[in-house]
């Protein structure tokens, strides 16, 4: 998955949690302030991301900084995807 696909997957997952289409967003869009996600949505968002991207997320390996913006969450997921790619290559 490239960066653009990861960001698209994050946006789609947020839309699923919020139960509405999420439009007009960038990597700088803030999850809590701009999109009104709240702390009760975090686990649900991670569960949605797992299904959308077919990756395994470890919530306890994350800290709240990763949930600041669409871009910071994409950063974390990019790391996961790269790790899987490296593992497969090895």
């Amino acid at each position: 998955m490239n960066r653009s696909e990861i960001v698209t997957a994050v946006v789609r997952s947020i839309g699923e949690v919020l139960q509405r289409e999420v439009t007009d967003v960038t990597e700088d869009t803030r999850l809590f302030d701009d999109l009104q996600l709240d702390s009760t949505s975090i686990l649900e968002l991670l569960m949605a991301v797992e299904d959308t991207m077919d990756v395994e997320v470890d919530p306890e390996g994350l800290d709240m900084d990763s949930f600041r913006t669409i871009g910071t969450l994409a950063d974390y997921l990019q790391g996961l995807v790269d790790l899987v790619a490296t593992g497969n290559a090895g």
Partner: protein, 470 residues
């Protein structure tokens, strides 16, 4: 004007110490539930440090304590705010103790343990009869009580932890024969698997909660079978990785509700139980927003709550607890009351409002205790806020506003106007920190209360820009 302790405080002291005049040292450790949670396996979740706002909420204790008491806080309260409380409201203020060595990433009790001067002052008060009263006892407050030789006015950490689990709440509710929300207690992965399977057999959503979850955290709503499968997968994967299948969760059916309620009981050392008050709790997506008084209930609903209060209080006493317990309840859309959603056997948000409502909530009036999210560009003084609120702070036929916690407005801000991580954002209009203003609004009726609420929002918008989602 009053400079004496409120009746509310005197009753609390009598219940906990046998004497309504016992001096107390208040330690409003809002993070205590996190301490208890460390011993239990909850929902998988990212690590979250306590926010600056939560830490500054300890200032709420100033309005609970009285002139014979002491309150320990990490940050010295604003002098202008203390003047407002003493001179405008006539409140009898406690002495304030700020440990000389504080750190944002540890409980205030640990600050005290690392601050010889503050510890010595507490010890001297202890020798004169002061008792230590934390919001709830964890190992840190136990250590402090021993180190400072100030006896706890409340039970030990093990007792608090035992009776504050949502699993305890569910079991007690069922054993007492009170109408419980249908649900399951899950102490192993197998029990969670079984609960979710049984839940799936009946249409409707369920909510899964940590046994030790604080407001708005540690819960997930499962409204489709796919979401239940996803959660189970996450929990199974963690159990496989750690080799530990223990859990501390409850699974409950989602109930369509008309209102959330919060009522408080005080259990005295001899097992006597008093129902202190019933309030309507305002929540938004599981996060506490405020309390409305009086609660809109009929006589039968009140009677059920009185019965539940006596039963739960008696059971808490039998299980070794004494002190304050807040109980969350709901009124369903069908007007049926579920009198025990959870027992929080510690100080609750509404505990701190007891004294100020006694002084300013007149019979027949309505009152709203609520907070306003605010975003100042840098630290502001109470006098800045006073100018912004203007006459709203004065008694008037349309009602008045009382500021119940000011320190939280500046939570996250530094003296230079810069901001801490975790409580800040850099919006298009420059960096702003996220704070909260805690208030009590009183008015003769609901219409004027709503108007007052709107006037506060408008007044704040001019100076400290409340968040749009507030």
């Amino acid at each position: 004007m009053t400079r004496e302790s409120t009746d509310y405080l005197r009753r609390l002291k009598a219940a906990l110490t046998g004497d309504p005049a016992t001096p107390l040292a208040f330690l409003c450790n809002f993070e205590v539930e996190t301490q208890w949670a460390r011993h239990h396996v909850g929902l998988p979740a990212p690590a979250a440090a306590p926010t600056a706002v939560v830490q500054r909420m300890e200032e709420l204790g100033i309005l609970l304590a009285g002139p014979d008491d002491l309150i320990v806080v990490k940050n010295a309260p604003d002098e202008g705010y203390l003047r407002y409380l003493a001179e405008d409201l006539g409140v009898g203020l406690p002495a304030v103790l700020v440990p000389e060595r504080t750190s944002e990433d540890r409980p205030t009790a640990e600050d005290l343990l690392n601050s010889p001067l503050a510890l010595d002052r507490l010890s001297r008060l202890g020798r004169l009869g002061t008792r230590l009263i934390p919001m709830g006892t964890s190992e840190s407050e136990e250590k402090l009580a021993v180190s400072a030789q100030v006896p706890l006015a409340v039970p030990d950490a093990a007792t608090f932890e035992r009776v504050n689990s949502k699993i305890y709440s569910r079991r007690v509710t069922e054993e007492l024969g009170l109408p419980a929300v249908p649900g399951w207690c899950c102490e192993t992965l197998g029990e969670l698997r079984q609960a979710l399977a049984e839940a799936a057999a009946v249409p409707g959503s369920v909510v899964v909660k940590d046994a030790y979850g604080v407001s708005g955290k540690g819960l997930v709503v499962l409204d489709t079978p796919a979401k239940a499968d996803r959660l189970l997968r996450l929990v199974e994967r963690r159990a496989a990785r750690t080799g530990d299948d223990r859990l501390a969760l409850v699974v409950e059916r989602w109930i369509d509700k008309r209102a959330d309620l919060n009522y408080q009981i005080t259990v005295d050392r001899r097992g006597g139980v008093r129902l202190d008050f019933v309030k309507q709790a305002l929540t938004e997506r599981g996060v506490h927003q405020g309390h409305l008084m009086p609660a809109d209930l009929n006589a039968g609903q009140h009677a059920l709550l009185r019965h539940a209060a006596a039963e739960v209080g008696g059971r808490l006493a039998a299980d070794g607890f004494f002190g304050v317990a807040g109980i969350d309840a709901i009124v369903g859309a069908d007007e049926r009351v579920h009198p025990v959603l959870e027992i929080n056997a510690r100080f609750n948000m509404s505990t701190y409002q007891g004294g100020i409502t006694e002084l300013f909530h007149r019979p027949g009036d309505v009152a709203l205790a609520r907070h306003y999210p605010v975003r100042p560009a840098g630290p502001i003084g109470f006098d800045d806020l006073r100018r912004a609120l203007g006459t709203l702070l004065s008694p008037a036929p349309g009602g008045r506003v009382i500021v119940t916690c000011f320190g939280t407005v500046n939570a996250g801000a530094t003296n230079t106007g810069a901001v801490n991580t975790g409580a800040a954002d850099a919006g298009g209009d420059g960096p702003r920190h996220q704070g909260r203003l805690y208030t009590l609004l009183t008015a003769p009726d609901h219409d004027r209360l709503a108007a007052l609420d709107g006037a506060v929002r408008a007044a704040l918008a001019g100076v400290i820009q409340p968040r749009e989602d507030s």
